[in-house]
């Protein structure tokens, strides 16, 4: 495997504030993500972690602040732009396409690479067919990589939780993202599943050099695999730095031990 080196800042959020009605989800959050690194966002429940990801790829629109992605400064992201610019993600509670097979789910990850129009597809026209097969090959690479060949043709709704999580990862990877947002990829998994998932995340990061931003509860995992960690609590940033720095940060300790604010 190629020796990965952390590059410059690829994504940074500045003074992001987000509120639903009166409820403040995020207040004045700023942090950056460097190319090729594994960046973790941690924090107690309701700290606003998922909201943060949703702001990054445009599912939510922040009221204040700005997002700089690959040098481009934006008031807020547009979901589709995000996808086109190479931001992919998985969801906290699995958001697979239940009615479709594993293969089709992964294939959807390739949709932005498909150029043929619906008429050509309807006629199964040469180019359209060749394109379909081309993308199918790419999809199969990912499937092999994540070791889910066996279940290729299975409808995802029939899969166990752990596998579904993996399929969702596959779908995200199929888009060949620059930045991969993982929302609690290991939630509700047993130890073996977690180990597999860690392995996959790391090798994605190493082999494809994909920048990874992940939310995780399991401190052990976070500290093991991430290069830098942001800590959120009640929608505010209370810590940012290497795992060790964060581990020794008093505020963080308080937050996790639940000292009253």
């Amino acid at each position: 495997m190629n020796e990965r080196k952390i590059g410059g800042v690829i994504l940074s959020v500045q003074n992001i504030s987000l509120a639903f009605g009166g409820v403040k989800a995020l207040t004045d959050i700023s942090f950056d993500v460097r190319e090729h690194e594994v960046r973790a966002i941690i924090g107690p429940n309701g700290a606003g972690k998922s909201s943060m990801l949703n702001v990054i790829n445009g599912v939510y629109r922040a009221q204040q602040g700005q997002i700089t992605y690959r040098g481009q400064v934006r008031k807020d992201m547009d979901t589709h732009q995000a996808a086109e610019q190479g931001i992919a993600r998985t969801f906290q509670n699995i958001a697979l396409f239940k009615g479709m097979t594993v293969l089709d789910n992964v294939m959807t990850g390739r949709n932005l690479k498909m150029k043929s129009n619906f008429l050509m597809q309807a006629l199964w026209w040469g180019p359209a067919q060749r394109e379909e097969m081309e993308q199918r090959r790419k999809a199969e690479e990912i499937i092999d990589f994540l070791e889910i060949q066996r279940i290729r043709k299975t409808p995802v709704s029939r899969l166990p939780y752990g596998l579904q999580k993996r399929v969702e990862l596959a779908r995200a990877l199929a888009a060949e993202p620059k930045v991969l947002l993982l929302d609690e990829p290991m939630a509700g998994m047993n130890v073996e599943e977690k180990q597999d998932m860690c392995r996959f995340i790391l090798s994605v990061n190493e082999q494809f050099g994909t920048t990874i931003v992940l939310i995780e509860h399991d401190m052990g995992v976070v500290m093991d695999i991430s290069d830098r960690v942001v800590v959120l609590d009640y929608g505010k940033k209370i810590g940012d730095g290497t795992p060790d720095e964060v581990r020794n940060n008093q505020e963080v300790i308080d937050a996790y031990l639940g000292i009253a604010h």
């Binding site: 998922s50 949703n54 969801f91 958001a95």
Partner: protein, 300 residues
């Protein structure tokens, strides 16, 4: 007649008609609220109820007794439907349940015509469908006795239902069921008994609607079409809200009459068919969940 009087008359007529729509829509709401089934057969139930009532009366049974008997029949029908059609389909997709009620429509329509034949009958509630002199003399506006009566009945019905649902054990249980089936079950609410009751009540509502519509335009197959009139009311009012249905009925009734009366003649008339639906669309674009429907919050 001054243009103001004319408008008042159109408006009142519209509002009163609207109540008649609400009455039909009410049946849909009860069932949808409890079991999230869109009961396509509601129209057929209205037809069946009215036909059964007059049928029994024709056998020489006094009105009140016939009424009681019919109530019994409708409640049984409702509970029977729940037991034999919907229970085996519990937890199926919404659209499957819808289809089941469509099958039901054929069965009920067939049954009604098999048992009572296809002769057109009339039902006499003792209230004439003619203007009330008092109002006519003083305001020059014509208001039908029957319409007023219907409005009162509908109002009373809704009020009673509201009270029942808010102050009785069954009612609380129903609201729990409406909120979350699983949760309701987990706290030991007899889901299926509740559904049975709701279908029974829906049958009752169908009977009332059938009587009032029947008194207006005869007891006959065309009664199944009144269901169509209830649909725009439903989407505006929201499939799950009893008060919503009443308000929406008023909105639809009034607006469609005003539209037909003032705009219709300019475009060749007959716009009543689609106007309520267009209105509903415009309305939904502003409030996708309807007037009183629960707000849909979609998180990821």
């Amino acid at each position: 007649m001054s243009s103001l009087q004319v408008f008042a008359e159109v408006l009142i007529a519209g509002l009163l008609t609207g109540i008649m729509y609400s009455l039909v829509a009410l049946g849909f709401v009860l069932i949808y609220k409890a079991s999230s089934v869109f009961n396509f057969a509601q129209g057929a139930m209205v037809f069946f109820a009215a036909l059964t009532l007059v049928g029994i009366i024709e056998l020489g049974v006094p009105f009140w007794l016939a009424l009681l008997l019919t109530i019994g029949v409708m409640v049984l029908l409702g509970m029977g439907i729940e037991k034999f059609v919907l229970r085996p389909l519990v937890n199926q997709h919404e659209i499957t349940l819808l289809m089941a009620t469509i099958g039901l429509t054929f069965v009920i329509e067939g049954l009604a015509q098999l048992v009572w034949g296809t002769d057109v009958r009339r039902i006499d509630l003792g209230i004439k469908d003619i203007p009330i002199e008092f109002i006519a003399d003083n305001t020059g506006i014509l208001v039908s006795q029957l319409d007023l009566f219907a409005a009162v009945v509908a109002g009373a019905l809704v009020a009673t239902l509201a009270v029942l649902f808010s102050h009785t054990k069954v009612g609380r249980a129903l609201r729990a069921v409406a909120d979350d089936h699983a949760a309701a079950l987990s706290v030991g609410i007899p889901l299926q008994r509740i559904w049975g009751i709701v279908w029974g009540v829906a049958g009752l509502v169908a009977l009332v609607a059938g009587m009032l519509w029947g008194a207006r335009s005869g007891v006959q197959f065309a009664l199944v079409f009144v269901a169509l009139k209830a649909l725009p009311v439903l989407i505006i009012g929201g499939f799950t809200s009893v008060p919503g249905v009443i308000v929406a009925g008023l909105i639809v009734g009034a607006s469609e009459k005003i539209a037909e009366f003032y705009v219709g003649p300019m475009v060749g008339g007959g716009i009543e068919t689609w106007f309520p639906y267009v209105l509903a669309i415009l309305f939904l674009l502003v409030r996708p969940e309807g007037l009183y429907g629960e707000k849909i919050i979609r998180r990821v």
